[in-house]
Symmetry: C2
Subunit: 471 residues, 2 copies
């Protein structure tokens, strides 16, 4: 989003429409359509996390969307956390249902109901399953496409059960690691914090969260990892025979990622010309545009097809744009849509056995030898990924303010601190890291700064309270 | 399912559980869980149809699951076809909704609402989109896993809009062709018929349907292609400017395939020992079982790992079963789960540079030279696919009875015909093809035979009325 922060919201809405990612003109607030181009970004992004989960022993499965009221209400804290935002199905045809059915807001209860049937003895553990599904929240707040939806079209939720507390702890670590790698693959910098007690997932022992910072300086939660302890296991009777013949309840974790990761790819990397997509999620990684000079059209088209076939064969997502419009319009279209590399093929280059490459991320144009095509493309892709990450890191870091480690011994100091935090949040925006002080770590403080406490985070070996205005 | 027809239903329920495909013990009738193994079969099967659709210019997208009541009710015939089986969301939290929301039973109405926003002029056409989503029917009939569900977990629905009637007709042909190829890839024989007027899709001009025949002799509808004409287009105002500057409404088609294709793979190919999976959808295509003789364990394990790595590298879905249980139990497990090829590696074979292959479909065991591993695997896979198809064809054909082309001029003849059809359906079961006679082609006749009229089908150049007992 370049340097302009003020109009981010407008820019974001605009790009979703113009780059054909998501159409929000559906007649239900908070429900929209993933358009084909957006759908592909979603597909490639979630393919990355699917592979990471598969490689670490997670199994993809698919659980029902409807949850009977009594099942959802079984875990007391959990239902309290959701009861105002659950959609209820009350009728089948004209017939009132005996038991109301909830549209899943998340799937702890249906999955743990099934786990009870699967867990008898310690050798049945661990269970590590995940699904990628739609979930629903009756949002009363202002909705935003891919950020705050009533139908969350893409929720990747993983659920695990273990024989020991230590195994569950290790699973939390594994999950954090997977998410770190995933966001890194997408060039999305994050701040990892332990959410405060008053903001943890309903029913969890504790919640670890990934927040990123959007170009308007507000943070967005884009991933969470929960250690559920034995809370749900006791409610759902996930009791098993231990190795030494005793009985215990399973130790559980769960962790999720949603459409917000797509919103973040768009928001963090884009600029005033449109999308800038990391090559690994770009629906079109390379667009080939023949420059058709009169009388030499055939030379350019033949070369374009040759290059297209070479790249296609190597598995690149490549497109030959042979529309009958001026090259300049094609350039704009593909810059808007964020294709990482553009290849221009004109008669002079072809004669000199050169190929002109254009990088969407930096706007650089340069030539390579025709013989070096594959190396040139591979190197450029790697360089693009690196540059995209560096830029995003730089911008996110510029939004982080680390406060000095002063002792806040008396109330005057605390008031000064509050004023200081409020000032930074108003002017520089972003995240303020306040040296950890247990006297500050409460809801009263959160209220006084008129912002959110993200939680406790570590930075250079020190503990901080991270605060920010959030989405 | 071998030769036993009587206990198909029991066999089917049993195999879903034992082969870990689908767990139906969820506390809502008609809602269940795709277990990891079943999920993978689903994934590979739908990957095949996705590729076929992508290659023929269809774009995958994702539309909302909730449909406002007024939108669903817009096309009169359409809603009449569904109103008894629609689930209604009436509340968000404790708040009654202003407009009731339907869980999509199918997505004509939401998709065509959006198409209105996308179609202005003939160059906007054709539009060919599809999605793979969950849909819902409040079934009052007996539900059956993957066959008759309340949550249809997998519905691949394609929707198209065209500038001319002819284009829509051609689209119907393309769709039929895609489905033909798809079912052929899975070795599922089908009967294609034009559904009778009284059984076409609500709102369509006509419906073409794919039925297969299950081992119990009942038919199952596993794919439909609808020509919608301009019915929906007029309701949803899909008006566009034609090439010659006039106005017209779009011509539309839609076509769908569901979880029933998974049920068919299981039902049509399996036998008394369990699943027999076509290699292209088998989660494990090749299982390697080292035969560990005392003192020679290392030789077998090393060779097993070597073979595993060779096959893995070539892209096969291969598993080395190194569990500490007897080989016989492993054999049974993987025969139950339908792995197409088993490789047994014992010390004597290894010494002789031989590899023993076992084919799940025929039960044959044979040796190949170690050096011929890849060729041997490829040839065997091809042969398995061929044999699976042939067997399924044979069985389905054995269920088809073609009646003589007698003229049924008077009522006595018609009554004799009815008796004859009833007798065949009771004894031989399957599909009866009755030479087309317009006097027979009505609901009264359907009632009299106490079975279903599938529709009109062609066989050896003649037209028949196809009738059967259906799922």
């Amino acid at each position: 989003m370049g340097e302009t922060v003020e109009n981010f919201s407008e820019w974001y809405g605009n790009i979703l429409e113009r780059a054909e990612i998501y159409d929000l003109r559906y007649p239900i607030k908070g429900c929209g359509v993933y358009l084909p181009y957006g759908f592909k970004i979603r597909k490639y992004a979630f393919e990355i996390i699917r592979n990471m989960l598969d490689e670490t022993g997670h199994d993809e499965a698919l659980f029902p969307m409807l949850i009977p009221e009594d099942l959802l209400a079984k875990e007391g804290e959990h239902i309290k956390g959701f009861e105002d935002e659950v959609y209820w199905v009350t009728h089948g045809g004209k017939t009132p249902l005996d038991v109301k059915l909830a549209l899943r807001p998340t799937s702890e209860t249906p999955i743990y109901y099934m786990m009870k049937l699967w867990i008898k003895v310690h050798t049945d553990l661990p269970i590590k399953v995940y699904q990628v599904v739609n979930t629903f929240r009756y949002e009363t707040k202002h909705t935003r496409p891919l950020i705050r939806l009533r139908e969350i079209m893409t929720f990747k939720e993983a659920h695990t059960a273990h024989a020991t507390k230590e195994d569950a702890e290790n699973q939390v670590k594994e999950a954090i690691n997977i998410y770190k790698n995933f966001f890194d693959e997408l060039g999305i910098p994050t701040i990892i914090s332990k959410r405060p007690e008053w903001d943890k997932f309903p029913g969890a022992e504790y919640t670890m969260a990934f927040d990123t910072i959007f170009p308007d300086g507000k943070t967005m939660q884009i991933g969470t990892v929960h250690n559920l302890g034995q809370n749900f296991a006791k409610t759902f009777e996930l009791e098993f025979e231990t190795a030494d013949g005793g009985k215990d309840y399973a130790y559980q974790t769960c962790y999720g990622i949603s459409d917000r990761v797509i919103a973040s790819i768009i928001a963090l990397h884009g600029d005033e010309k449109g999308l800038i997509l990391p090559p690994n999620v770009a629906p079109i990684q390379i667009v080939i545009i023949p420059l058709l000079f009169k009388g030499k059209e055939e030379i350019a088209m033949n070369k374009a097809e040759e290059v297209y076939n070479t790249l296609k064969e190597k598995g690149f997502r490549v497109k030959l744009d042979d529309r009958d419009i001026r090259p300049g319009r094609k350039f704009n279209d593909w810059e808007l849509k964020g294709a990482p590399i553009r290849i221009e093929l004109g008669p002079r280059d072809i004669e000199n056995k050169k190929i002109t490459l254009f990088r969407r991320d930096t706007g650089e144009k340069f030539q390579i030898n025709e013989d070096d095509l594959l190396d040139g493309i591979n190197n450029t892709m790697n360089s693009i990924m690196k540059t995209i990450k560096e830029k995003a890191n730089e911008r996110v870091n510029s939004f982080i303010t680390i406060m000095d480690n002063k002792n806040n011994k008396n109330n005057n100091d605390i008031e000064a601190l509050i004023d200081n935090v409020k000032e930074i949040l108003a002017e520089k925006k972003g995240v303020v890291l306040i040296p950890y002080d247990k006297n500050l770590y409460n809801e009263e403080f959160e209220e006084s700064i008129e912002a959110s406490v993200l939680g406790i985070t570590k930075c250079n070996g020190n503990e901080y309270i991270a605060v920010a205005r959030t989405y």
